[in-house]
């Protein structure tokens, strides 16, 4: 696979989806863009920004309480992949936690259960329905981007082109904690 260029994407979250009478409106908040560089090597996360790619997707994670020990303390991160492993990619969600899990602000217990499944919602501006992705099924941002492109690329004639700065799409992620906008790519994929 060709090396990933030094492209930057941010994750944004559409605020809410208003449902009423068969018509759907899909609104986005003002974007808090955290420009991140997608590392093309596992060791380099400090390089300067090269380009900015906007992807009108949102990503929300049900797991908030875990903090990466050597990254920004303000951000809650997904469980390290090693705790779940590829074998849990298809693992089923604990039934006890199934309801409202993605809005559960302070549930750290669920995040530590190996039975929890990390399927997060992905919403795109203008698309009336959301998708789900199993974040732990991916090994890096590139593979995640490929799936997102496969899911949403059909809405654009030339595809989303996540690593193409000319695509004009912005991808923002919102942490459940206080509803702050985050950029998932700020930290290493793990």
């Amino acid at each position: 696979m060709e090396a990933i260029p030094s492209s930057i994407f941010t994750l944004t979250k559409a605020v809410s989806m208003h449902v009423g009478g068969g018509s759907w409106s899909y609104m986005s908040t003002a974007l808090m863009a955290y420009n991140i560089r997608i590392p093309d090597t596992a060791s380099s996360y400090q390089d300067s920004r090269d380009a900015c790619i906007d992807l009108g997707l949102s990503l929300r994670t049900p797991f908030l309480s875990m903090y990466h020990d050597n990254q920004s303390s303000k951000v809650g991160w997904l469980q390290p992949e090693s705790q779940y492993g590829a074998s849990n990619a298809g693992h089923l969600m604990s039934h006890k936690k199934s309801k409202g899990e993605e809005e559960d602000d302070g549930d750290s217990e669920g995040a530590q259960s190996k039975d929890r499944c990390c399927y997060v919602k992905v919403n795109m501006d203008g698309v009336p329905y959301g998708r789900k992705i199993g974040v732990f099924e991916h090994t890096d941002y590139w593979s995640l981007a490929l799936q997102l492109q496969a899911m949403f690329g059909k809405y654009f004639g030339s595809g989303i082109r996540l690593f193409d700065e000319a695509s004009g799409l912005l991808l923002i992620y919102q942490s459940n904690e206080g509803g702050e906008w985050r950029s998932v790519g700020d930290c290493p994929w793990e």
């Binding site: 989806m17 899909y26 298809g90 969600m93 309801k99 919602k121 501006d125 329905y129 998708r131 809405y155």
Partner: protein
């Protein structure tokens, strides 16, 4: 209004504790005034769900094949509309609050033009 076939109760209880006892999930097809109730607990896969929906809405063969005539969506407990099929089946069974069958044309009409600067 929804039929009660194979369901103990298809009525949503306002009491949060009683919601978990609801055995049926309402399914609606755009353009049909009457919805149907589906007991997801008796089904083991998305294919079985599509088979049941095809039967209830008399659209045999139109969900299971990939002609994309219909878009199968669901409403989750957050009130958000998601596509059916992305979640693991057992997870879907717990989080789907309502099932919606839209025609492809209807979904296209719901699409909003996004200003991406193209």
């Amino acid at each position: 209004m929804a039929d009660m076939d194979d369901c103990l109760s298809s009525i949503e209880e306002p009491n949060k504790e009683q919601v978990s006892r609801r055995t049926c999930t309402k399914a609606f097809m755009k353009g049909h005034a009457i919805g149907r109730a589906v007991n997801l607990n008796t089904l083991n896969s998305y294919d079985q769900l599509k088979d049941v929906l095809e039967d209830k809405f008399q659209i045999w063969g139109e969900l299971l094949n990939s002609n994309h005539k219909w878009v199968l969506l669901y409403i989750d407990h957050d009130g958000e509309m998601m596509i059916v099929g992305d979640d693991p089946w057992l997870e879907f069974r717990n989080i789907a609050k309502k099932i919606l069958i839209y025609s492809r044309e209807e979904v296209n009409r719901m699409m909003l033009p996004a200003d991406f600067g193209f």
